[in-house]
Symmetry: C2
Amino acid sequence: MLSEFSLIDRYFAQRARKNTRRAALGIGDDCALIAPAAGEMLAVSTDMLVEGRHFLPDVDPRALGHKALAVNLSDLAAMGAAPLGFTLAFALPKPREDWLEAFSNGLFELADRHGCELIGGDTTAGPLNLCITVFGSVRQNDALRRDAAQPGDDIWVSGTPGDARAGLGVLRGEWPQVPIDRADLAHFRHALEYPEPRVALGLALAGIARAALDVSDGLAGDLLHILERSHVNAEINVDALPLSAALARLPRAQQLQCALAGGDDYELCFTAAQAQRGAVEAAAQQAGERVTRIGTITSSDTARSPVAPAITWRDASGAPLNLTLQGFDHFHAD
Amino acid sequence: MLSEFSLIDRYFAQRARKNTRRAALGIGDDCALIAPAAGEMLAVSTDMLVEGRHFLPDVDPRALGHKALAVNLSDLAAMGAAPLGFTLAFALPKPREDWLEAFSNGLFELADRHGCELIGGDTTAGPLNLCITVFGSVRQNDALRRDAAQPGDDIWVSGTPGDARAGLGVLRGEWPQVPIDRADLAHFRHALEYPEPRVALGLALAGIARAALDVSDGLAGDLLHILERSHVNAEINVDALPLSAALARLPRAQQLQCALAGGDDYELCFTAAQAQRGAVEAAAQQAGERVTRIGTITSSDTARSPVAPAITWRDASGAPLNLTLQGFDHFHAD
């Protein structure tokens, strides 16, 4: 039986050392040394995942390893930054070899795919807790900020939001009266457990899009962050929302709840000038991602006073819809 | 009663935004943007602190805020890096306003003193857990690494190691038969709760010292990390260990246990060429810190084979001592 230290070393440090390219000094010293590309800034984001809050106690450790890094890479994607490396701090009640192996496999499979190196970390005994801080490189003027949306901008979303929330709804048994196909369930569950950070899309959009963020807490709620920081409002064409074939087979109420108020999709929501439509489409094609125009940024009537920003919901004919979105209620509810 | 979000915003985000100088983009976007000084590298370190493991449940929150950042700044000091900023991720069972106020006061008092900005973070509900990632700036060739010690180097230590461990021993009631003065107890306890990261000393030593680390797990154990990474051995003159007046009043057994096997001091242990003695003394004077020569780096007989490095303990006359150090047993025991 290996000691705790040997286990950590085998599954993390050894594997990290093998692949050191970007960090001048990685695991094993007091600090790692890293630098953004010449003339660029380091983009930094940190996320903490807690058992019972962000994942269930019986989560597949491979999926957890994937998702813990994916949510952080998604923050880089939302800035248009290229991944460089990450630190991993975690508390574990009791290290189990099979758990660590599966967790590290899920983690490194995604990390390697994005050329994102483990450059440092910390491990301790304690209630299960994962804290990843991720580093990317981005030209300061190309960074996709939340405060850069302008009236007249198109509002875009990548992928098909709502699938992860549908997965959670099914796993929780929220819709017992709705029959769901086994293949659709597998699709939803995969979306929930293995979200794919839109790194290539974020990179391709840097310098083209204006404002962007990743949808972790639901499209409606997250879009409000852009509106608030940019002092603008928005109109969304609900009928333009891109739905997966699986989600389109659920009743309309579930479709809207999942696509607008569900979280954990990690799709990008971004704005761009109308003149950039061709460039946005080309960027998406280059990244191999689907993007859909779902609305327009409008002026805030109250740009000077601190009034809450607003989203107007419309159908395809332009008629206003009175949507009552159920409060955000997935694991990220904090 | 403020909501959880408002509390976090009041005690952390608002205060962080007021002082933004170094980060091009701080709290409130998907990522913070930060860059090392021109021509320098970013030094990165992360530490996770867990209740019951790194601090007692009844810890003074102001001391906890101080210490959570201090242990990270100490890692920068040990690299000779200048603090730039940090991210703070924490899980809290239930936010209490008085707790958050005291914690944030302890945290920002130290952060402001070192010009180290809060640039991002994450908060969630969960068992109390603090994860800080700290960023500094250092010229790559001046960084104080663990693998740079050379035979013939002097071994130095800053301050008076052992006081924090004595504080823990007294708080735990380990030495009921040893009478301890009230002023000495206050001294020990302050060392344990408010360790002072040796940032100025680390900066002054960059380019002068060879290898360095900060003593978090006990001088003997931590020195082994330098020896291991540098493929060398060491001789330590135990009688040269700098002891505080308070520690010197404890029995010799406790003195050695605390100074050599105790942790949480966050003093720097470093090596430097003998020709640099004057420069080291001058650097310490510039930083306003005490440094003491306690030994010498020696050749490893087995540079080629992976044999464990060794420390030879001697007294002032040069006679070898057979020290049996009690295993490292403070909260950091992982």
